[in-house]
């Protein structure tokens, strides 16, 4: 076939594109690139610095395996790594667009120190030593004046988390914020109570019947699991999808049930009622491996399908039929425990009911398994001293208000509220890494109030995100394609995140920043590694695996250390706890009971939240490639409701909640219940340094009222009611 000009032209074009961006970060351009040198040594790149380097994605928390195509020291294409169980050779839109995050013309590439007022966006460039000295000085001043607990720290779900924990616990602060209470606390805590583990693994290979409760797998994409779902449907598995919105997942499901928001619990309680009253459960599993069947049986007696029908809007016959079908599929059935599950004040009992449904059909060992886990793998770690004793209470109320919430998960919105109230003590400084609480926490105005109380705020990110915009110092992190991260095993495999290109400008890895800052804070003993590679050498030392081998392969298999007996659980009884004495001891319902959620008044709507397949949370909206292919974020409203309000498609509307209001374009659709509206989160950025994302869409965090589930600490993200009128 004739060779086309296209590949050559493409490359030339791309380099031109890169060159435009490169003007901002000329430093380092003329130094022989060590990344390319290392990759040449290991055989991944040829003498021109071209080839494929294996690494891991960080466009969401799923961490797909990536093979990055590098041409002459630039990354030009990302492919899914076929060897990695999270990607199976695929990357989603975000993963494909990952190189645009790295080459974002809005990257922050030098440390910045604020010179204007907070929120004015005026910064000056600084050197690393100047910026780190300033951060260390401010942190030590706060420590010496108010105690280490007056510094709060927050970061989310990433591979450098162990070093972040060294920083905060070594410093002596108990105050650790993660995003998880804005996401899946209800699921995590209910799994801990029932199964003694945060999240059992799901297996679709034998799956015949799946109930998805708001788990919008085709838009909230976890690549391998999304593939599993589509494969299962193609194979003929039945999928029942429960959601007030007709999402893309609904369009793939066998059956869609547009449940009234906040009543999923009633649906699941009625399912349990039918399966128990009709004796459709797996007797041998119940007898051998669970406790509390009798208590559950008597507790659900009144939760008939007829009772649930009035609450959920789903007909009693449908609930009864689905319960029978689910039970008939038996071990091949799965009630998915969801992902972002903190929607209502009753989300915890909802999640508990889902765990019980799974136990009733005894699907353990067929569609559900113990989680593969992230610990172990035989990895070593640099030596470090024990953390200093911390006596101060945590501002987020864990465990003194929320006894069941794990310390490493926390209740982020409560931390923010305690800062605003100054109780039980005042906080004075906030260290934020790779996180955007200004946009993610409910009630943005309140978050900014908390910021205003701070003497000092420092943010580390690759971009000037909204949180950086209101910070005093912004530290430029190397992107995931520019840095090493600590190794974390995935089951019996170890994959590496390694730089595929040199960090641009002055950007540095978290491993480097935490060590440099830690040293300035007198915490050098918690960071006993020379550099990133030395950290990984020390991790690999006990395994006999060489870094070069791992770098070239991208991943290696290690001997499995797991226990082969999967039929035991780390609960107090060692069994699956349908009834929980632990909950009883703290005066919570030991078996799930109906809890009536609040409802909107006449003229108000439930404000639903959700995901789109092109973005992750609050951090990808500035990615030009994702921007290119995203839908304009609008407020969904049902045709009937829009008609009643005299509103048309594309009208600008004002949406008002008890805590704020936004203006956004309307999308009139038949894909949502008439008592709900829906707004895609992650838009409505405040940082004007995000030139692609700024001015697009509206922020739902400006509307969300803070409601915390008393058991799991989850923020009830769909419990805010809004009114809508023409803007």
């Amino acid at each position: 076939m004739p060779k086309t000009e296209l590949s050559r032209l493409s490359r030339r074009n791309f380099l031109k594109l890169g060159a435009a961006a490169a003007s901002a970060f000329a430093v380092g351009q003329f130094i022989p690139p060590p990344v390319a040198r290392a990759a040449r040594q290991s055989g991944a790149l040829d003498e021109n610095g071209s080839g494929y380097i294996s690494t891991m994605c960080e466009m969401c928390v799923w961490r797909c395996g990536v093979r990055a195509k590098v041409v002459e020291g630039k990354v030009v294409k990302l492919e899914g790594n076929p060897e990695h169980s999270h990607s199976h050779g695929k990357l989603c839109a975000r993963g494909q667009a990952g190189l645009m995050n790295t080459y974002d013309p809005d990257r922050v590439l030098t440390p910045l120190i604020r010179v204007g007022k907070r929120g004015e966006g005026k910064f000056r460039k600084a050197t690393w030593s100047e910026a780190l000295d300033e951060v260390a000085e401010a942190m030590l001043k706060i420590k010496n004046t108010y105690g280490p607990e007056a510094m709060v720290f927050s970061s989310t779900h990433n591979l450098s988390q162990p070093l972040f924990e060294n920083l905060l616990y070594g410093f002596g602060s108990p105050n650790y914020g993660t995003q998880r209470s804005l996401c899946f606390n209800a699921m995590i805590v209910s799994n801990l109570i029932t199964y003694g583990m945060e999240e059992p693994a799901r297996d679709y290979s034998q799956l015949q019947y799946l109930i998805l409760t708001g788990r919008n797998l085709t838009e909230a994409i976890s690549t391998s699991e999304t593939i599993d779902l589509v494969d299962s449907i193609a194979r003929g598995a039945k999928v029942v999808y429960i959601d007030p919105r007709f999402t893309k997942t609904a369009s793939k499901a066998s059956e869609w049930l547009p449940v009234r928001p906040g009543t999923d619990l009633a649906f699941h309680l009625a399912m349990i009622n039918v399966i128990i009253s009709e004796k459709l459960y797996n007797t041998s599993f119940i007898d051998q491996y669970t406790i509390g069947f009798e208590q559950v049986s008597s507790a659900v007696l009144s939760y008939t399908p007829e009772w649930a029908a009035t609450l959920t809007g789903i007909e009693a016959d449908v609930i009864r039929r689905i319960a029978r079908e689910f039970a008939a599929a038996g071990r091949y059935a799965l009630a998915h425990n969801g992902w972002r599950t903190s929607n209502f004040i009753n989300s915890f009992p909802t999640e508990r009911a889902i765990t019980i449904l799974n136990a009733l059909v005894g699907n353990w060992g067929m569609t559900m398994f113990p989680a593969a886990g992230e610990g172990g793998g035989g990895l070593g770690s640099p030596p470090q001293p024990p953390y200093p004793r911390i006596s101060a209470q945590r501002l987020d109320g864990v465990p003194w208000m929320y006894p069941f919430v794990p310390l490493k998960i926390g209740v982020f919105q409560q931390m923010r509220d305690s800062i605003v109230e100054g109780k039980p003590y005042e906080a004075h400084g906030w260290f934020i890494s790779r996180q955007n609480p200004v946009l993610s926490l409910p009630d943005r105005q309140k978050t900014l109030k908390a910021f205003n109380k701070m003497d000092f705020i420092v943010t580390m990110d690759i971009l000037m995100n909204d949180t950086g915009w209101f910070s005093d110092v912004v530290l430029p992190e190397a992107s995931y394609l520019e840095r090493y991260d600590p190794l974390v095993p995935l089951g019996n495999q170890i994959f590496i995140r390694q730089p595929v290109i040199e960090p641009q400008g002055e950007a540095k890895s978290a491993l480097w920043v935490y060590k440099e800052l830690g040293t300035r804070l007198g915490l050098a003993d918690f960071f006993q590694y020379k550099d990133e590679e030395d950290y990984i050498y020390q991790q690999l030392a006990p395994t006999g695996i060489s870094l070069d081998e791992l770098r070239l392969q991208g991943g290696v298999t290690v001997p499995s250390s797991g226990d082969s007996n999967i039929f035991k659980w780390s609960t107090p009884s060692g069994k699956v706890e349908l009834y929980s004495a632990t909950l009883q001891e703290d005066n919570f319902d030991p078996v799930p009971a109906w809890l009536d959620p609040p409802q909107p008044k006449a003229g108000e709507f439930y404000l639903l939240t959700g995901k789109v397949g092109q973005h992750t949370q609050f951090g990808t909206q500035n990615n030009q490639l994702l921007h290119k292919y995203q839908d304009v974020p609008r407020l969904w409203m049902a045709e009937e409701a829009a008609q009643n309000l005299g509103l048309k498609d594309w009208d600008m509307v004002e949406v008002t909640s008890p805590v704020g209001s936004v203006t956004v374009a309307l999308e009139v659709t038949s894909a949502i219940r008439s008592d709900c509206v829906y707004l895609t989160p992650g838009f409505g950025h405040l940082s004007m340094a995000l030139r692609t994302a700024y001015g697009v869409g509206a922020s739902d965090s400006q509307l969300h009222v803070t409601y915390t589930d008393p058991i799991s600490g989850g923020q009830a993200l769909s419990q805010t009611f809004v009114s809508v009128k023409k803007a």
Partner: protein, 258 residues
């Protein structure tokens, strides 16, 4: 004219989740300008009566027709049907950017790259095929909706998929008794409702191989719908771009005539 290979896309619409990984992958692989795209996912929109709703996504790009209208109008010979692969390709060194082929394509899958002054479109990532890789859109397709391969090979994934298909639909375009014979084969599209239905375009046929151009749309129908279809699929930002693009295209053509 039979070619050595007969490359074709086979797309199972029941597997497309509109995640748009293919769109981004294509843009990166082929350095597609930010204001253009080579491939699309057509959204049939929500259909049906509450609560029995449906929504189908139809990925498409250059159909690499057996009888491509674009090659016939190409004055420079830049657009040609490759005799080895059967792919419709553009030799951009030879292309003068006149835009006739853009007008002639009934599927609206070609655009003029203003900066380079040439026409661009899907080339099935020939640069990847040369080294044994699948086209970027196919390689990353999360739902495994997109398949690509050689129909002359009875054991290829695409041949097997067509042999086992419940229904196969092609968006055939007919003019003066000749049809385009497109090389995108849709699986399970015939059963769906939506814009690509009998109301708009005429008969929807359910068929299995051997294939005939059963699904024929009227020229007027497609011409009217093609641009808005693209725009709807991409949202308003893209709508503006599509309008801008069309305008430029028309004005450009005027200049040429003058």
């Amino acid at each position: 004219m039979p070619t050595k290979n007969h490359y074709a896309f086979v797309i199972d619409v029941t597997r497309c989740i509109d995640c748009r990984a293919c769109l981004v992958a294509c843009s990166v692989e082929n350095s597609v300008p930010m204001d253009h795209t080579r491939i699309w996912v057509h959204d049939q929109q929500v259909q049906g009566e509450w609560p029995t709703l449906s929504r189908v996504f139809v990925p498409y790009n250059c159909m690499h027709c057996d009888h491509p209208p674009c090659t016939e109008v190409c004055v420079s010979g830049a657009t040609y049907k490759d005799s080895t692969t059967g792919l419709v390709l553009v030799d951009q060194e030879a292309c003068i950017g006149c835009g006739y082929c853009v007008e002639a394509c009934p599927y609206g899958v070609r655009y003029i790259d203003q900066k380079r002054g040439v026409v661009d479109k899907c080339n099935a990532c020939v640069q990847r095929l040369e080294v044994g890789l699948q086209p970027a859109c196919v390689a990353t397709c999360v739902g495994k909706a997109r398949m690509f391969g050689d129909l002359n090979d009875p054991n290829s994934e695409v041949s097997v998929a067509l042999q086992n298909a419940k229904s196969v639909t092609r968006l055939d375009y007919e003019k003066n008794g000749t049809d385009t014979d497109p090389n995108i084969y849709y699986l399970n599209l015939a059963e769906t409702e939506g814009i690509l239905s009998s109301d708009t375009f005429g008969q929807v046929a359910q068929t299995t191989l051997p294939r005939d151009p059963h699904y024929t749309i009227s020229e007027e129908g497609w011409k009217k719908v093609a641009i808005p279809l693209v725009a709807v699929a991409m949202g308003a930002t893209f709508l503006a771009q599509a309008v801008f693009f069309t305008k430029q295209l028309l004005e450009g053509e005027k200049d040429f005539e003058d």
